[in-house]
Symmetry: C2
Amino acid sequence: MGWLRLVGEMDRFIVDGLRSVVENAHVVTDRAQMQSYLTDETAAAVRPKPASDLVLVRPANTQQVSAVLQLANKHNIAVFPRGGGTGLVGGAIPTQDGIILSLERLNGIEIDKENMMAIAEAGATLEKLTKTANEVGLFFPAHPGDENAQIGGLVATNAGGSRAVRYGVMRNQVKALEIVTPVGNILNLGRRLHKNNVGYDLTQLIIGSEGTLAVITKVTLRLYPKFGATATIILPFTNRNDAMSTVQKILKDAGTPLAMEYVERDLLEMTAKHLGEKWPVTIGDQYLIIIGAEASRDQLLPQSVRIREICQQNGGLEPFYVESQRDQDKILKIRSSIYLALKNETVDILDIAVPVSELVNVVDSVEEIAKRDKLFLPVFGHAADGNLHIHIMKREGDTADYVEALRNEIYRIAIDAGGVITGEHGIGKIRTAKLQTSLTKEEIALMTAIKRIFDPNNVLNPGTKIPV
Amino acid sequence: MGWLRLVGEMDRFIVDGLRSVVENAHVVTDRAQMQSYLTDETAAAVRPKPASDLVLVRPANTQQVSAVLQLANKHNIAVFPRGGGTGLVGGAIPTQDGIILSLERLNGIEIDKENMMAIAEAGATLEKLTKTANEVGLFFPAHPGDENAQIGGLVATNAGGSRAVRYGVMRNQVKALEIVTPVGNILNLGRRLHKNNVGYDLTQLIIGSEGTLAVITKVTLRLYPKFGATATIILPFTNRNDAMSTVQKILKDAGTPLAMEYVERDLLEMTAKHLGEKWPVTIGDQYLIIIGAEASRDQLLPQSVRIREICQQNGGLEPFYVESQRDQDKILKIRSSIYLALKNETVDILDIAVPVSELVNVVDSVEEIAKRDKLFLPVFGHAADGNLHIHIMKREGDTADYVEALRNEIYRIAIDAGGVITGEHGIGKIRTAKLQTSLTKEEIALMTAIKRIFDPNNVLNPGTKIPV
């Protein structure tokens, strides 16, 4: 039918309804104009297909979001809330005919300097938040790789990233939420407070619910003082066991760094090459990349010295210490680009989390599988959080059944180690069938009952997070 | 009827059922033997009365807890879970005929040193947890005043305390829970992990639900490295505005101390006298009591110097700096005993939380009420959290209606300042009628619906937290 797809009768009724609520220019029915809203960063091989009969709506404010949801709920139309589209599990992909609800126009950010909080609308990007906070001498810690992520999405997915070591994940930063429930109620949960024991904590329930319980329209976030000094320290090791046991020792005896990543040499060299750069460390095969950040250089140096000592007491080689911002950025860029370097050849990115004490056994087990099946199975991740990303790579002849068996085998390793199948990427639309690996049927039943309370007609992001 | 109260027919049936599950010695029907289980720390004037027809049961393990709940649920008998009884809002008081479920025999603690976590049974005391962690060089931060509090109760009430400044409240420490739902299902929520995005976060929903959604039987808690050096710094001020604005400046420019309390001179002197001690500072009328805690004295000193500078730049007098543990303990003891010094003359302790920027206005407004009504209305609290405790004191001739009007007036001040009626003490049984001051009817409806999912027959701690 080409891009000028005819809209069906029902659609026309809904589209007219949407146009009575949101300005014409922001109710889009032309498929060509909504291409970038139909997908996300999920690997192509496992990415869900968008539905064919979709309307894109870009409300200007919370009242319009409420009106859209009331309309959708009344007529039983699916609504897919959408942030930056940086998710890796298809959570934002509109897989049923219905409405794509983009929050991009709600993008204001207000900084409350006195209380060190940011009040960000859902569609503001992480980049804008980071920058706006920075301009007034404050710091927002949560940092998943892609700064195009939007605040609403970060909260909906309880995003993590490398800086969770010291500051925790999004869940730990959110003090209040403005949400719109699927039936259209606008609720203000929480306050600009550090302590609040009124009622059940609905704020925490919404965080990480992946857009299935409510549309997040505004978020109050805790900010922190900016650092006076930072340094990146690369600890090189010649065996994995030494590297992993060093993680625990640093956490116990050297204060809490901002980030502590585990990456192996081959992956860093490959990524550097992909970027046209050179990985600067010439010794060691396994690396801990540590970011230290303190109020002043005087406070940072003793920590760095202690980290060096611990490294060398645990079989590590001479650490590579970098203070200049330019050199730190270069290292961080290589670390952050692993995903990009692998992306085109990736079939699926797994995101297991295990207790820190189990890291070495888990990575060893994954390596054994790689050897057994003669696979390139790159593993890296947030060592201090026990959160590992494992890329299943394309290989000619590997069937979908083979990939599924491999995925299940790795999940089994994580679960047997006391872990779960997702530390930060979430369940989205591609892992709902795996929920039962980490949750009992009683837990899933409680969750579906909660979903029904918020969303009796199951209009909001259906097929995501839990089986409803 | 004296203490040998006759048990009714229904009771006898339930008691027999309980005795088939829990050892005879731990199914208590003798009122005299259950006296200490009938009350908590709530001020006598507002404390709910315990029901007359009660059975105390002390299960030995989670399976027995499950069996007790199954029995209760089947026969529609109210169950009142009980920890250390240190609550201030009647949350643990058994106000309907039914079963008192004491968790005291589930009191084991296991430390996972490698992952820096404690796995504590619900009935273990905070004192035991603190000591056990300490013995292996680790630190548990949450610290409400009374160390007889039990871990299950701390989680159920999302306890706070003075050290929330740096580490947050209980909510931020809990990684996993073993719970028994009111229908008797044993669920293991969460894992020994820092990142976990599987399903809705039921762990967070249970935290702070005040024993109305499930009985907590076991808790996995994050521990931290022990400090190498601590100091207590008392900043004296001659006006409240300077003291309060200093709170924000320290948080912004001097790192995050372990605790930062606001107390006025008269209250400290009165408490010291009550203890037979002497408040050691002779200058100033308003005080910030700050506890600094760092890995080493080298790291602590620059922070202390910076705090002194900020104090003096903001109109403060010369700080009183204490490093010896004995002197620090003495100051902390006086601060922690304010509650005890006031206790016998207290009608009700309010526990408002407001944005930090509003503290000075809120305390000024409370002082105006005290002047207007010629009242002694002591105010003190966790300044960095915006959490204030206000004692309404006994006075001859004050009616219950007067106290209620006063309470409402103070609540109104907090709410108008963007705050809530409880920062850490919770709602319990004495504040449910006030929920509507801080929550909309839509929010309360969602909460009651969630309660019904977990507890269809409303057997668990009825009359607590939310109106069901």
